[in-house]
């Protein structure tokens, strides 16, 4: 019996090829999007699950309050970890220190690479369950050892066995390879940890780290903890809240220590007022909703087309009922048809997803693959397809089977004006979604453009930054500078404690005349050399640049406009600021430089001269020479000073552009989804228009005989669709406004939502609709009326 149902269903599909194709393609595009999004969500929520102790790991964090604003940070003082280990051993199985994920130079003979890795305490690899391919997790016991990832091992040693081989780190320290671990997968927070070095070595080679061992106010390290099996994150957080504050009750920032569980690192990484305020989880929800919507659109098409066609099948239903088919059999028949379509669509979906996944991976910066071997994937997607088939097939099934056979056979059956209403509602829903997505996409791009056009306050053309990470570059400032200038490839060179695209250090301890004593002033602080202004192209608002002609300029400061506003002096130039009991004279105020997020207000920032505190060399290339030629010459000089290191540089404009990558990704994804929604909606109206045209063939013929022109008929057939799109537009406008206004609120520096965005989207949707409908309309209108009239 069931076989019979499917046989008839297959025949019906084959007989209506165009209809079946539209349905299958539409549905599979919808399902493919849903599947891509599903894979993306799976990747997001499985983040960090690679680590076996996922449920028990946490990062130790602290809340500090400045000027009434509570911020949460992962930077912790060094002595915290030993204290947690000693005093709370009942709660913690392990507590380890880690440095930041910094670039270091790893060299084996001639092979030199800049790679990112951490200094960690020996338990770290065990805690994070590194899968050792060679050697042991305990390999960091020796203070001059290193564990490297598989990809680093291949880069440095090729096919030879790396164990017990020597690597020179940053051109100064030799370490012995004691293990190779499987690369941490891309969907782990620690995926950039491509090697780990022993903490002991950090202490031994960096004197500032050694000095930090008893400094409770030097927040420069990360601390990770593993809880004992039955300990609870919240309870332990409450217990350790005051560990830091108890060491310095005078601390105005009132540091409160807490645990951030690994399960929240990726999706809940944003904090507000000391509490978790979301993060990527919002995108998981957003994309989830979009996926459901796109699938819904595809289902709507399916129902729409099936019911539209049903009117042509009214007679079939009548005959079937007359010869004794009961309603339930008819329902089964129609459901078999829709299930068959879904089966075809699902196969096509798998093909589509396989084809588009590489591209989608690039777009979303992931490495996802179809989970061919995962039984849950199959169970989920097959049951999902079945539900789709049942849901989208049930409306036509119940609707069709309810036809009254007597009226149908007598020929008095007419699908009244109201039969079209649900179908129209469905089209309106589709277009509402499409128009909303179009508006959203435009607003996202406008916001990116708006932030890109923000005046940055300096000149980044031909500006490159070189990390000072080996001792060779330290202490030769003047010689290096004059050698660089001599090449003719360099316009100016300077050094600074932060690159132009970040502020590495924020400090307190400032005082000035007229300062509110309760104000906890926090400034971004950047140490620079005398030639900084010239190399980055500072724009002065007041006062002057640092100058070698004034020896007193070693205690001079230059403020940005935000800092000048913050201290609130009328004429700041010439006034003094006291910082950690030393007086500095303000000599100038510069235009705000956008160093951090282009969407945020500029942080009050102070610049001062300090040659001892330098992390970055800024080189402004000679604009008269080609970049590649100048880089060649600059590279030569650097290799001479620093023969052990590769010449690595970063263009300031490229670094700056990275700040937009997140938003640009959202923009691209939104475009992708909007295009799909439009595509699916168009397939929908295309199919519907062809049915309308077919249904009205006789009417069109009569009208033509009576003198209607093709244009008259085109108008007649398009009018209804235009009305529907207008209604969708009216619904979509407030929805899009509401959501996009909310999204823009995330950005302090944001664009306005202007009326033309809505007008353009509505107009665009209208044009697309007309183009889609016109094909059918013109085709129907140009047919010879004699033919349609003789069919009567």
């Amino acid at each position: 019996m069931l076989q019979n149902y499917f046989k008839i269903a297959l025949r019906t599909l084959l007989r209506n090829k165009a209809f079946s194709a539209i349905n299958i393609v539409g549905l599979s595009v919808g399902m493919a999007v849903a599947m891509l999004i599903g894979l993306w969500i799976f990747d997001e929520i499985s983040f960090d699950k690679y680590h076996q102790k996922y449920d028990r790991l946490a990062q130790v964090m602290q809340n500090q309050t400045w000027n009434g604003v509570t911020g949460s940070q992962t930077a912790m003082p060094l002595p915290l970890a030993p204290e947690l280990r000693a005093k709370y051993s009942g709660d913690f199985k392990n507590v380890v220190l880690s440095s930041w994920n910094f670039e270091h130079i790893l060299a084996v003979g001639d092979r030199k690479f800049t790679k990112t890795g951490n200094f960690v305490e020996p338990k770290f690899p065990e805690m994070f369950s590194f899968k050792m391919l060679k050697g042991s997790q305990k390999g960091l016991k020796d203070p001059y050892s290193i564990l490297i990832s598989e990809s680093v091992a291949t880069a440095l040693f090729g096919d030879t066995d790396p164990i017990n081989k020597i690597i020179k780190v940053d051109n100064k320290t030799n370490v012995k390879v004691t293990g190779v671990y499987e690369d941490l997968p891309h969907n782990t927070t620690l995926s950039e940890v491509t090697y780990v070095l022993p903490w002991e070595m950090y202490l031994a080679t960096e004197s500032w780290v050694k000095n930090s061992q008893d400094q409770w106010n030097n927040n420069s390290f990360q601390t990770f903890a593993e809880l004992n099996p039955n300990a609870d994150f919240d309870k332990v957080s409450a217990k350790i809240r005051l560990v830091k504050f108890n060491h310095d009750k005078q601390d105005a920032a009132k540091p409160m220590v807490f645990l951030h569980p690994m399960s929240k690192w990726h999706l809940y990484s944003e904090f507000k007022d000391g509490k978790i305020a979301g993060g990527r989880i919002q995108f998981v929800w957003l994309f989830g909703i979009i996926g459901v919507f796109v699938l819904l659109l595809a289902c709507i098409n399916f129902m729409n087309l099936s019911t539209a066609r049903s009117e042509k099948r009214a007679k079939e239903v009548g005959v079937r009922k007359a010869i004794g088919s009961v309603r339930s059999q008819l329902i089964t028949q129609f459901l078999s048809e829709s299930l068959l379509i879904v089966v075809f669509a699902f196969v096509l979906t798998l093909v589509l997803v396989t084809l588009t996944l590489p591209w989608f991976n690039e777009l979303s910066d992931k490495k996802m693959s179809i989970l061919w071997t995962n039984p849950y994937f199959w169970i989920l997607s097959i049951s999902f397809s079945l539900i789709t088939g049942l849901v989208s097939g049930s409306y036509p099934a119940f609707y069709l089977s309810s036809f009254d056979p007597i009226r149908v056979l007598k020929g008095t059956f007419r699908v009244g004006r109201f039969a079209a209403v649900p179908r129209k509602v469905l089209v309106v829903i589709q277009f509402t979604v499409s128009v909303t997505l179009i508006i959203g996409t435009i607003i996202v791009y406008r916001q990116i453009q708006h932030a890109k056009n923000r005046p940055i306050g300096y000149s980044r053309d031909g500006l490159i930054a070189i990390n000072i990470n080996t001792p060779e570059l330290v202490g030769h400032y003047d010689a290096l500078r004059s050698d660089l200038l001599k090449t003719g490839a360099v316009y100016e060179m300077s050094q600074s404690s932060s690159p132009t695209t970040a502020v590495y250090s924020n400090q307190i301890g400032f005082n000035w005349e007229g300062k509110d004593p309760n104000l906890q002033a926090l400034f971004g602080v950047i140490a620079v050399s005398h030639d900084y202004a010239k190399s980055v192209g500072w724009q002065f608002v007041e006062g002057r640049d640092f100058s070698r002609s004034f020896s007193t300029d070693t205690s001079a400061m230059i403020l940005n406009e935000a800092a000048s506003k913050f201290i609130g002096m009328k004429n700041p130039v010439g006034k003094n600021i006291n910082w950690n009991d030393k007086n500095y004279r303000i000599v100038g105020v510069i235009k705000n430089m956008v160093m951090e997020s282009p969407y945020e207000p500029i942080k009050p920032t102070i610049f001062f001269i300090n040659y001892g505190w330098a992390n970055i060399i800024n080189v402004k290339l000679n604009p008269a020479m080609s970049a590649s030629a100048s880089l060649e010459k600059v590279g030569e000089v650097f290799r001479r000073y620093n023969p052990g290191s590769p010449f690595d540089y970063k263009f300031a404009d490229e670094q700056y552009a990275l700040k937009f990558s997140g938003e640009e990704r959202i923009g691209k994804l939104a475009t992708f989804f909007a295009c799909l929604a439009i595509f699916i909606s168009c397939l929908g109206i295309f199919g519907l228009a062809s049915f309308t045209a077919e249904q009205r063939t006789k009417e069109i013929g009569v009208r033509k005989v009576l003198g209607a022109s093709i244009f008259n008929l085109w108008q007649l057939l398009s009018k209804d669709f235009v009305m529907l799109v207008m209604i969708s537009f009216l619904i979509a406008t407030p929805i899009a406004y509401y959501f996009m206004n909310g999204w823009l609120k995330n950005y302090e520096y944001r664009s306005e939502i202007s009326w033309w965005i809505f007008a353009a989207s509505g107009f665009g949707a209208l044009i697309i609709t007309l183009l889609t409908v016109s094909y059918q309309a013109v085709k129907a209108a140009s047919a010879n009326p004699v033919k349609s009239l003789r069919t009567e």
Binding site: E699, V705, L706, G707, N784, E792
Partner: protein
């Protein structure tokens, strides 16, 4: 009014060619009432469609009001058609979604007649065919005779010079059929040329002249007294 000479029409399908009209010649004068008769498949409808400029012929000449139109393109024919010709079909061909009034109004709309004049003309013609009281009904709510009267009203509302009727009584009983024939006669008496295809000798007697076709050719003409 129209003069047809050596008209040929051949339908080609995949395997066979059907000669629907075979060197057919025919002349109709202004003010005439002509009936066309013949067995099924002899080419009556084909001829009427060509005269009505809905279809075109392969060869021959078709003079309409002294003008050769055989080579007219679709647009020019459509223009000529909507000014000069009204159609009545066997199966009425009313538009189900429109009321009686709207159906009748349609040709005027396509001619671009203004609203006031439309109202006046439509009402006059509905009055004449006696379905004014049904003006707001939809076609399915009418009897066959009423539907055909409505179709006739629609055919004449723009006062065409020529009315083409393809078996106008074919779907009607004799009472309703006679009413329709009466209407056509009245229109003819008022000066409109009428060409009608029919299978009924009874209806044919309303005409001035009967043309008999066989296999796409005129085989006989009877002038009626």
């Amino acid at each position: 009014m129209l003069k047809i000479t050596d008209l040929e029409k051949i339908y080609r399908t995949e395997d066979i060619e059907t000669v629907a009209l075979n060197k057919l010649s025919l002349e109709v004068k202004k003010g005439e009432f002509v009936a066309i008769m013949g067995p099924s498949g002899c080419g009556k409808s084909t001829l009427l469609n060509i005269i009505g400029m809905l279809d075109d012929a392969e060869k021959g000449s078709f003079m309409f009001n002294g003008e050769e139109i055989i080579h007219f393109n679709e647009r020019r024919r459509a223009d000529l058609r909507k000014r000069n010709i009204g159609f009545v079909f066997q199966s009425f061909n009313l538009i189900d979604e429109l009321t009686v009034y709207e159906n009748v109004e349609l040709p005027l709309l396509y001619l671009g007649v203004d609203a006031a004049e439309r109202k006046q003309k439509v009402e006059a013609v509905l009055e004449k065919v006696q379905i004014m009281h049904r003006r707001n009904h939809f076609p399915q709510q009418l009897s066959g005779g009423q539907q055909q009267r409505c179709a006739v009203a629609r055919a004449v509302v723009n006062t065409p010079k020529l009315i083409l009727a393809d078996e106008p009584t074919g779907n009607l009983d004799s009472t309703n059929g006679n009413e329709v024939m009466q209407l056509l006669t009245e229109l003819n008496e008022a000066g409109t040329t009428v060409i009608m295809v029919t299978h009924s000798e009874h209806d044919a007697r309303f005409a001035h002249r009967i043309i008999r076709l066989l296999d796409g050719k005129v085989v006989m003409e009877n002038i009626l007294g």
